[in-house]
Symmetry: C2
DNA sequence: TTATATTAGTTGCATAACTAACTATATGTC
DNA sequence: GACATATAGTTAGTTATGCAACTAATATAA
């Protein structure tokens, strides 16, 4: 066993998702402080629906890197909040399409502003080139690991 | 609201921890396939204890970026598996020191090997310079966000 | 066209995360 | 020494995650 090899890149910190959870926690706090009673996980679903409404649950699995069961329950909870509704697809009766309700619309601008602000703070002192490298590394790590 | 600003760096993917969860899931699978019945969260605690045995729960909070409650239950579960034990500190009776049991020792080499292998696979095609940049960015994002 | 396999979604079970409220011990100040 | 404050850890309550087993609908193949 080679500790030296293991420490190459200290990927241990990647596994723990240190940076990502720190940003996520900060954003969650900012939501709460602003009186927005949603979790970042719920927000990550809304985020995709704001970009394209009426996605299937399966499509949300793919786009948010979660399994079917996680999406089922996340949608359950967001539906309870009255922010989305499931509508059965007419083309394929196995499929639920998830649509935003009117109640979700006002959340969009407020959360986008908070997300922008949170991310700008998180990214202070970090160049666009560095961000590009991180994105590129993430993509390759993801492809290598799935 | 500026979508353009928001997309700078697609930090959204950082928030979702795409890469880190992919590696973590892969490592978890490799543990299971090897008959090692521990979670990566449990392993992250053992990892720190293998480096330095007898840490306090508070110290484990700091080193693994978790809160007190999470550590309490993680230690509960690892203790149930018989891999660690809590021993009250003689210096400060509020403090629990967490010690590895003999049963935890054999796990070290097996899991280190799997972690090495998993990380090497995850890091294929990624240079040391890129890893250094990711580490550096992570550190700054963490500092900016805590 | 019937049998088989695949796909979308749900549910049960276990682990883990965070917040907030709580107990017990230590520390600091008057 | 007594009272206030800070620190270490536990517990309760809620949300989220993953796997595995399940149902229902669709697609494929004999």
């Amino acid at each position: 066993m080679s500790n030296n090899q293991f420490k190459r890149g200290e990927l241990y910190s990647v596994i723990n998702g240190v940076a990502s959870t720190a940003v996520a926690r900060r954003l969650q706090k900012n939501f709460r402080n602003a009186g927005l009673e949603i979790t970042i996980e719920q927000w990550s679903i809304l985020y995709h629906l704001w970009k394209e409404d009426g996605l299937s649950q399966q499509e949300l699995c793919t786009r948010t890197f979660r399994d079917k069961a996680s999406i089922t329950r996340l949608i359950d909870n967001i539906e309870k909040l009255g922010l989305v509704e499931r509508i059965a697809s007419k083309d394929d009766r196995r499929v639920n399409l998830v649509y935003l309700t009117d109640a979700a619309k006002p959340l969009q601008e407020a959360t986008y502003n908070l997300a922008n602000q949170t991310m700008n703070e998180a990214l202070q002192g970090i160049s666009k080139e560095e961000i590009e490298i991180v994105k590129s590394v993430f993509q390759r790590v993801y492809e290598n690991s799935k």
